[in-house]
């Protein structure tokens, strides 16, 4: 569990997870695009994510594809959020989403 928190405590690594959430199963080349960082830097971050179990890989041909594995985050959720607060937490995050969407559509209307 330490490894999961350590892996998440970095904006580049969170950005990599965001990209996999958007589009799962990407190669290193696809992931390093638009990141202001060397290929080696991206590899290092991916390795930290892999060691924490947040990213899994599968070979396809000569390429290694990266997949977001949300299971370790689910385990953290089930340990602290699940038992007591899930209805509250989901109601609050829905409220946040609704309000932010309202704001966004107001912005659009302007």
């Amino acid at each position: 569990m330490d490894e999961v928190f350590k892996a998440l405590a970095d904006p580049t690594r969170r950005e990599l997870l965001d990209r996999l959430f958007e589009r799962d199963g990407q190669s290193l080349s696809a992931l390093e695009e638009r990141l202001p960082m060397s290929r080696f830097g991206v590899m290092k971050h991916l390795r930290v994510l892999e060691e924490a179990g947040l990213v899994t890989t599968q070979k396809r041909g000569r390429e290694k594809l990266h997949f977001l594995n949300p299971v370790p985050i689910r385990l953290i959720h089930d340990r602290w959020v699940g038992k007591y607060a899930e209805p509250w937490a989901s109601a609050l995050s829905e409220l946040k989403r609704d309000l932010e969407q309202d704001e966004a559509s107001k912005e659009d209307a302007r």
Binding site: F21, R23, D24, G25, Q26, S27, S29, A30, E33, G53, T56, Q58, R60, G61, E63, L65, F67, L68, N69, P70, V71, I73, R74, L75, H77, D78, G82, K83, E86, P87
Partner: protein
């Protein structure tokens, strides 16, 4: 974004998703937990899966008389290491429209634990995320059951338990 990526993972989270979990147990106990109707109920929203687990046989996941969840065939059965199943979701009109996909369970011993990898692929483009969205909760409950002998009791994790008989 590079539009010429030489692979076919597209749409939503992708036409293929992979979930991995480490569980402190033996491959045999893990295999049993996947293929036993009673154990399955305890970590799959209360839904049991019934099959004779031979290659080519059918399986059905349901709460009899209440709801049908999924069905398909066992394409490869290699206990206690590998199970490949065709998968058709049945729990709503919407997911039924998604057609057949494939679920592969792979068990790999690692030290005194097992790595379980569930690959859900052959999903359609922009597949409804309900199809694969339940896996993290199911796998978390499976880990809890095998490591502690208890049910995970987060809201939703036992949704259908007690719904029938």
């Amino acid at each position: 974004m590079n539009e010429e990526q030489p692979y076919t993972v597209v749409g939503g989270r992708g036409a293929m998703t992979v979930f991995e979990i480490y569980i402190k147990t033996t491959p045999e106990r893990l295999w049993e937990a996947i293929t036993s109707e009673e154990m399955r109920k305890r970590y799959s929203f209360g839904v049991g899966t019934v099959s004779d687990w031979t290659e080519g046989s059918e399986y059905k996941a349901a709460v009899p008389g209440v709801v049908e969840i999924a069905g398909g065939r066992n394409l490869e059965v290699d206990p206690p290491r590998r199970l490949v199943q065709s998968f058709t979701a049945l729990w709503s009109e919407q997911v039924r429209g998604e057609g057949e996909s494939r679920v592969t369970w792979e068990i790999e011993p690692v030290g005194s634990s097992c790595r379980l990898r569930v690959t859900h692929d052959q999903l359609g483009e922009d597949a409804n995320n309900e199809l694969y969205g339940g896996w993290p909760m199911i796998l978390s409950g499976l880990k809890t059951l095998l490591e502690t002998g208890e049910n995970l009791d987060t809201p939703g994790s036992l949704r259908y338990s007690g719904a029938a008989g």
